[in-house]
């Protein structure tokens, strides 16, 4: 890892200014992703601004919204009473990620901003447009078993690895941001972006912006929810495919639904059309199958990930069945 300057401000404004002053400086929260990237030479920030002294760790409910501070730990959020009561889908998604040790270090802000796990991104001896724009996409013609089936470009076919973000995008969350130009709010669905011609940009954050919290509006999704994560070992692996499913049921009729997928695109992949198809229908396998078909429209696979074309719709059906508790 490179040598770097280390700052640990206690004031939010100081942190933002410190970042803005140094090109390529990075905030560091839990460090569970950033330090790995630095050790592998993927990132070489000349300055780290440790934000752990900022008062951004609270989880509170206010005005019909749950507000989770950017520094709240993944483990703490997953166990929080209000989260479990109001947004159990989020707790499930968090618990599906990483390991207990990592969840005890990782923060909510860091989790949503974690970088892709594409092997070509991680190996500085291989091409990667995200790491080194213009060097080419190693995965496109290479080993792309973990890669995208939606929303990719010929510059980048990487996927976003976060489990938590799949639940947040399904739950209509909003990101609270503070930056050199002041504070702003951004729908969570607009935080991450598709790669297009600039895969080096993961998100729509402006330089120097700090995430301070995420807000989730109260909703009816307190019971019939399920986060399904498919992976080849029982724990501690990134998703091949994951599905966040939330249903609001009236008897057996679906009143409202939220659906998103992970492991399939450069951003957490909300399935708005599929959601619509569910509303007003009976919670049956046939309904779920139809939603899965809609969700998969436009999917396209590469050499090693065509299994996702079956695994993804199956996972949607399974997640909805589990959410509805349909045997």
């Amino acid at each position: 890892m490179n040598q770097f300057q280390y700052l640990r401000p206690t004031k939010q404004q100081a942190a933002i200014e410190a970042l803005a002053r140094t090109p390529n400086a990075q905030f560091i929260a839990g460090g569970t992703n950033l330090l790995d990237l630095m050790k592998r030479g993927v990132l070489e920030p000349p300055r780290l601004i440790d934000i752990n002294r900022l008062p951004l760790g609270k989880i509170e409910r206010d005005n019909g919204r749950l507000r989770i501070g950017a520094l709240a730990l993944n483990g703490a959020v997953a166990e929080d009473k209000q989260v479990l009561e109001r947004q159990p889908l989020l707790a499930q998604a968090l618990n599906a990620g990483a390991s207990a040790q990592l969840r005890n270090m990782a923060t909510v802000g860091g989790n949503m901003l974690q970088r892709t796990r594409c092997s070509y991104f991680y190996d500085t001896a291989m091409p990667c447009n995200k790491r080194e724009p213009g060097s080419g996409c190693g995965a496109l013609e290479g080993y792309n078993r973990m890669h995208a089936i939606f929303g990719f470009s010929d510059k980048c076919i990487a996927v976003h690895p976060s489990d938590m973000s799949v639940a947040l995008v399904a739950l209509d969350a909003t990101v609270l941001i503070s930056g050199p130009k002041g504070d702003r709010r951004l729908p969570f669905a607009d935080l991450h972006r598709l790669p297009g011609d600039t895969p080096q940009k993961d998100t729509n954050l402006e330089p120097g912006e700090l995430i301070t919290a995420v807000e989730i509006p109260d909703g009816p999704f307190t019971k019939n929810v399920h986060y399904l994560k498919v992976r080849e070992r029982a724990s501690y692996a990134f998703a091949l495919v994951s599905v966040a499913a939330a249903l609001s049921l009236d008897g057996n009729t679906i009143k409202d639904a939220r659906l998103a997928m992970g492991g399939v695109a450069h951003k957490p992949w909300r399935l708005a059309e599929a959601e619509k198809s569910l509303i007003g229908k009976p919670a049956t396998e046939a309904t779920f199958r139809q939603a899965a078909d809609i969700a998969m429209q436009g999917a396209k696979a590469f050499k090693h990930n065509s299994y996702k074309l079956r695994m993804a719709p199956n996972s949607i059906i399974q997640a909805l069945k589990n959410a509805a508790s349909v045997a």
Binding site: M1, N2, R117, E232, A237, Y307, Q318
Partner: protein, 746 residues
């Protein structure tokens, strides 16, 4: 331990590890943990091409980086005397020439060490290593096994030695399976499995004088390492000292000496300071060997009533371009079942990759995946229970050489295992059992490994305080060697284990072979037994007339005196015995070696593994829900450590079957899965309840302890048991490991 038990034998007890406390409290010192004055740190730079030449190396930025003491490359490396000579190409494990690090500008594989940066701190060394820039003239490389499989060749050692087991083999009629009424032909592939023990490969090299080298090195062979480095540096063996007191798991990767070891020794020479070098996790994938990618084809024929007519088993395994790595992939096929016709063909394929090495159950585990899968496939074709099919082809003599087995209790293993797994729940028709969203299936796989015994020396010293210290230059890579040696000695001496210490992992101790091939207890345990017997003999002598006619087992050493168990009145104090011995510690060293039993008997350990798996109907995820492993491994010296060996092997087998497999991008000849996030070893949640059962019957033909060996059979046969259970659950036969959900969804 209860006093009561002390009256009885200690061998067989579930004695706790003698070093358990040291390990769990962190007091045990592993090779990278020695603090030497003036110690500095190294970091290796790897090549980024797979084949070619280094045309220039820019080390200036690295040399200028903070704390850097030297950047060593082929341009400035002190010459290793042994590298120049065309030395001993016949030495195991390979024919060829181990990579000569920093010897010249040639590149043989991607991530080959091309420079070593040495700095005051590890962080400084690692940072500066990133600043070294190399230019290459790349040659076209060949790394893709599948594209080159037809280039497989017979290993040179087989060509040179007609008796080598790697030669083409035909028993009965060549390809006789083809004449059978029921036939199957199938191909099996096993992807490279990488060595990832918890402890990273590490060494501290220290030239104590210009001609005296000490290394604290993570190896499985302290004597072998001593010999190798003495030869490299043109030194008398006794001038090289190798310390490996604790090893944090090795599984075979410490059975060869690797380039990083010599790199550290070179650096220590150049700087005249002790140099520590610990590989990174990513470097574990390229610098210390791995279980080779292997392609196999089986042709199997049987009669309609389930008698094997013939088996033809071919295999091609990966090796590097500079060393011929071989293993015994096909042995189980020759000896496990009564088949009048057996043909085997063993080939290796040299690619522009680093040299493979043995990994637990080497070769045999790979071969058993194909053989035991094929047995299951044939049983299915015959509509026979796979255990019944195996029993119909059970053999009471070794069909390979017609010798009797020294012992074989495999039928007992079948029975024990079948009961415990609940084999009667298995349905003949695949896909018939379901538990909610999961298909449920049962499978079995058989394993075997030679019950080997080598020659070893052991020393036993009775000290003034009445305690006994034993020494032998073996290692303990995790199985609990030190513990069982104490148990063996306790029984042999009639002393409580607390009074006995066993020391290992030091090349100055009496010679012992590497810890490998499941042979340590057979080999070193026998030496310990003989050393203890010799020590008692010496005491008897020193004790004089009163003891002269006593039987050795009647002699007891306790409370600072030697006495007769049958007559407590006959005794002599330790102090008096020492007086008789000119005031010295009573000290014996013996060499123990096998006799000619191998000419008369065929000697093997056996195991059978049963797996119950669940396969998700919608997602293709596989979970092993229960495993039972049964072994005929002779005398079980310690049921606790032996049981742990079996459980560890079963978990390793789960990895082999379901999660582990390194993937290379052949455009670059570079691995793409090279850390523990991408390369999946099983986690706790993947390891179900694993039951272990031992037949626990001694085999006194193999050695005087009756032991046969456990380490390898713990994993051999596990992967096919799981693959067979997946077939039973789903009707899908996956012949390529690891069996990941994508393959089941295809």
């Amino acid at each position: 331990m209860k006093d009561q038990q002390l009256q009885d034998k200690v061998v067989g007890d579930r004695m706790n590890r003698v070093d358990g406390r040291l390990k769990v409290t962190g007091a045990a010192k592993y090779s990278a943990e020695y603090e030497l004055p003036g110690l500095v740190h190294g970091a290796l730079v790897g090549s980024t091409i797979a084949k070619g030449r280094i045309t220039s190396l820019d080390t200036k930025a690295a040399e200028r980086a903070p704390g850097v003491l030297a950047v060593i490359t082929h341009l400035n490396s002190p010459k290793v005397p042994g590298f120049a000579a065309k030395s001993n190409p016949d030495e195991p494990p390979a024919i060829g020439q181990p990579l000569r690090v920093f010897h010249d500008e040639k590149v043989y594989f991607n991530d080959q060490p091309i420079a070593l940066v040495v700095a005051n701190t590890l962080e400084q060394a690692r940072y500066a290593a990133r600043l070294v820039k190399a230019q290459y003239a790349a040659d076209e490389h060949r790394t893709d096994f599948e594209a080159n499989k037809q280039r497989g060749f017979l290993p040179t050692q087989a060509k040179r030695n007609p008796k080598s087991a790697q030669n083409d083999y035909d028993r009965g009629q060549k390809n006789g399976y083809q004449t059978a009424p029921v036939k199957l032909e199938a191909e099996y592939v096993h992807t490279s499995e990488m060595h990832n023990p918890m402890e990273l490969q590490s060494i501290i090299a220290h030239w104590e004088a210009p001609d005296r080298l000490t290394v604290y090195d993570k190896v499985q062979a302290v004597k072998g390492t001593q010999r190798a480095f003495a030869k490299d540096w043109g030194l008398p063996e006794e001038n090289v000292k190798v310390i490996a007191t604790f090893v944090g798991g090795a599984f075979g990767n410490g059975l060869h000496n690797w380039p990083h070891e010599t790199a550290a020794i070179i650096a220590a020479k150049k700087l005249n300071r002790p140099v520590k070098l610990v590989l990174t996790r990513e470097q574990m994938f390229t610098m210390v060997g791995y279980r080779p990618y292997t392609w196999q084809r089986i042709g199997m024929g049987a009669t309609k009533d389930g008698k094997l007519v013939g088996i033809t088993h071919e295999s091609v395994g990966q090796t590097s371009s500079y060393e011929e790595f071989t293993e015994s992939t096909l042995q189980q096929t020759r000896m496990m079942y009564t088949s009048p016709n057996v043909s085997t063909r063993y080939r290796i394929l040299g690619l522009d990759i680093s040299t493979p090495i043995w990994m637990r159950g080497p070769g045999e585990a790979t071969g058993a995946f194909a053989l035991e899968s094929a047995m299951d496939e044939m049983a299915h074709l015959l509509n026979l229970d796979p255990m019944e099919f195996r029993l119909r082809n059970y053999t009471d003599v070794d069909p390979d050489n017609n010798k009797p087995w020294s012992t074989k209790f495999l039928k007992e293993c079948y029975q024990l295992g079948a009961e415990r797994i609940g084999w009667n729940k298995r349905q003949m028709k695949p896909g018939s059992l379901r538990d909610g969203d999961w298909f449920v299936g049962y499978g079995m796989g058989v394993g075997t490994f030679g019950a080997n015994r080598g020659t070893a020396k052991a020393r036993a010293v009775l000290q003034a305080d009445g305690t006994v210290v034993l020494q032998s230059a073996t290692t303990d890579i995790g199985p609990g060697t030190g513990t069982v040696m104490v148990q063996i000695a306790a029984d042999a001496l009639g002393m409580p284990p607390e009074k006995i210490r066993f020391e290992l992992g030091n090349s100055t101790f009496p010679t012992a072979p590497s810890q490998g091939g499941s042979a340590t207890v057979n080999t070193v345990g026998s030496a310990v037994l003989e050393a203890c017997t010799a020590l008692k003999g010496k005491l008897q002598q020193l004790g004089g007339a009163a003891f002269a006619s006593a039987k050795p087992e009647d002699l007891t050493l306790a409370g600072g005196q030697l006495s007769l168990a049958s007559n407590a009145g006959t005794k002599v104090s330790l102090a008096d015995l020492r007086k008789q011995n000119n005031g010295q510690d009573i000290d014996v060293t013996v060499e123990a070696k096998p006799g000619n039993e191998r000419q008369k008997y065929s000697m093997y350990s056996f195991s059978v593994h049963f797996a119950e798996v669940r396969v998700h109907a919608m997602t293709g995820e596989v979970r092993v829900s229960k495993m039972v492993s049964c072994a005929d491994a002779g005398t079980i010296v310690n049921h606790k450590t032996a049981g742990s060996q079996m459980i560890g092997g079963a978990v390793g087998g789960i990895g082999m079957a379901l999660t582990e497999g390194a993937v290379m991008d052949h455009r670059f000849g570079r691995y793409v899965t090279k850390d523990l996030a991408d390369y999946h070893v099983p986690v706790h949640a993947d390891a179900p309840a694993i039951e272990v059962a031992f037949v626990d019957k001694p085999d006194f033909i193999v050695d005087p302890l009756g032991t046969k060996g456990i380490g390898e059979i713990a994993i051999i046969g596990v992967a096919p048991a799981i693959a067979n259970a997946i077939f039973n659950a789903t009707g899908k036969r996956i012949r390529e490991l690891p069996i990941t959900p994508d393959k089941l969804m295809a």
